[in-house]
């Protein structure tokens, strides 16, 4: 029995916790400001001469690299610091339900943040005639990317009661997931490594799979990749929490 009823209660409390503190509002404002800024300046939204959201989506892996760990760092380290983990885990629930509930709440929050970028979609549709299928697939990719980063942050958050450490660890791990598929790095690797090795390494990158979705290709392998990263990180979170309790 998975017990969705319990997971929903945990998730609802967690989501409310974002909005009961200033965290949610600061996050949303910063995210919307920065994503707009990147899209319309460095992204070259207007200069591209095409009706698409590429300018927005291209920057997202880098913007999320800092913002998602910031949203996820408190998930477990806060519980550990405040001692509420003892309250939560002595209620009639399993550790997995608690992990899933907290993760889903944070993910929902990030999806809300993503949906609030809708003015960019409206702008593109007003100025030109973009392929809205590609845009939808781009948003799915962005949501999956956020979920993958978030699951990693969830894991690092369970490791420590210090949120700063959780944040830095998450950024480093997510950066690693980007860099193994980032062309300046893979080009370096390609100089001495055999092509199949380069390709194997780049398959582990979020960028490789994210880019596919940005082109409007809903490939089940890309979906599977993101879901695997999430499943693995959340499983590791469970191991960390159980080990911590075992002392």
């Amino acid at each position: 029995m998975i017990g969705w009823a319990v997971i929903r209660i945990i998730a609802r409390r967690e989501l409310a916790a974002y909005f009961e503190s200033p965290v949610a509002y600061v996050f949303l404002v910063i995210f919307l400001l920065l994503s707009g800024f990147f899209t319309f300046t460095f992204g070259g939204f207007f200069e591209r001469g095409e009706a698409s959201l590429a300018a927005f989506f291209n920057w997202l892996p880098w913007l999320f690299l800092f913002l998602v760990p910031a949203a996820g760092m408190r998930l477990w380290s806060e519980e550990r610091r405040m001692g509420t983990i003892e309250l939560l885990l002595t209620m009639p629930i399993t550790t997995s339900q608690a992990i899933l509930g907290k993760f889903l709440a944070s993910w929902a929050f990030l999806v809300i943040a993503l949906l609030l970028t809708f003015p960019i979609v409206i702008t593109a549709n007003w100025l030109g005639d973009p392929d809205n299928g590609v845009i939808a697939s781009g948003y799915i990719g962005a949501a999956l990317l956020a979920g993958a980063y978030l699951a990693v942050s969830c894991m690092t958050s369970a490791l420590t009661r210090n949120q700063v450490i959780a944040f830095i660890l998450a950024v480093v791990l997510c950066l690693l997931l980007i860099l193994v598929g980032f062309s300046p790095i893979t080009d370096l690797l390609a100089r001495w490594a055999s092509p199949w090795l380069v390709e194997t390494v780049t398959r582990f990158s979020v960028l490789t799979h994210y880019d596919g979705l940005q082109k409007g290709v809903l490939d089940s392998r890309d979906l599977l990749y993101f879901l695997s990263v999430m499943a693995f990180s959340l499983f590791a979170t469970g191991v960390v929490i159980r080990n911590h309790r075992a002392g």
């Binding site: 319990v6 209660i9 945990i10 409390r13 409310a16 916790a17 009961e20 503190s21 405040m82 001692g83 509420t84 003892e86 309250l87 885990l89 002595t90 209620m91 009639p92 629930i93 399993t94 309790r245 075992a246 002392g247």
Partner: protein, 248 residues
Amino acid sequence: MIKVEYLSKSFGAKRAVDNISFEVAKGEVLGFLGPNGAGKSTTMRMLTGFIPPSAGKVSVCGFDVLENPIEAKRKIGYLPEAAPLYSDMSVLSFLNFAAEMRGLRGEGKLKSVRRVVELCHLDSVLGQTIDTLSKGFRHRTCLAQALIHDPEVLVLDEPTDGLDPNQKHEVRALIRLMGADKAIIFSTHILEEVEAACTRAIIIDRGRIVANGTPQELKARSASGRLEDLFRALTLPDTAAPSMDAVA
């Protein structure tokens, strides 16, 4: 209703709880006494399923805490040490959350919340954020959370710690009142509390049980007839060298 058999817990080389066994029956209020660091909180964390024991067994109302954690945890109300709370929530939303986590819905939830609010005198702070509460109210909010599902077993870790004399008196009275039809175990290092609220007491020192009996029995074991003298004779101050072995 609580049955602890040969329970041990080690943290690395340190043996925090060393082979303890005891039982608490319905209608009993067991005082868990001991100096700081004697293993009281560790024992309670094992009772409530928060940490797994290194060896031994705990069962609550017939459910093994390791094998049947969910069923066992359903039966327990737990007040952890220092009364941790989600400080961004209001008292009411926190109690609603606790009630829902315990499977209470609709009318049942409403009734339980109303009952614990009355029992713990929280009506004046219901809408307040937990962050802004005084220590006494924080403690009572956490106690209310432990009582919300009217559990058969109550595990209270230092329920009167940091309260003023009036609040202490009230919490003790509450424990006595509820003790009639529950099994209660509470830890303390305040000896007068034992006489005021317990039907039985266990003294634990460095992970081992050094005395177990009714307050009267324990007092009789001391030459002066005072619980404090027995406590001091049986337990070592935490400054004592490890080579000075147990007096008992």
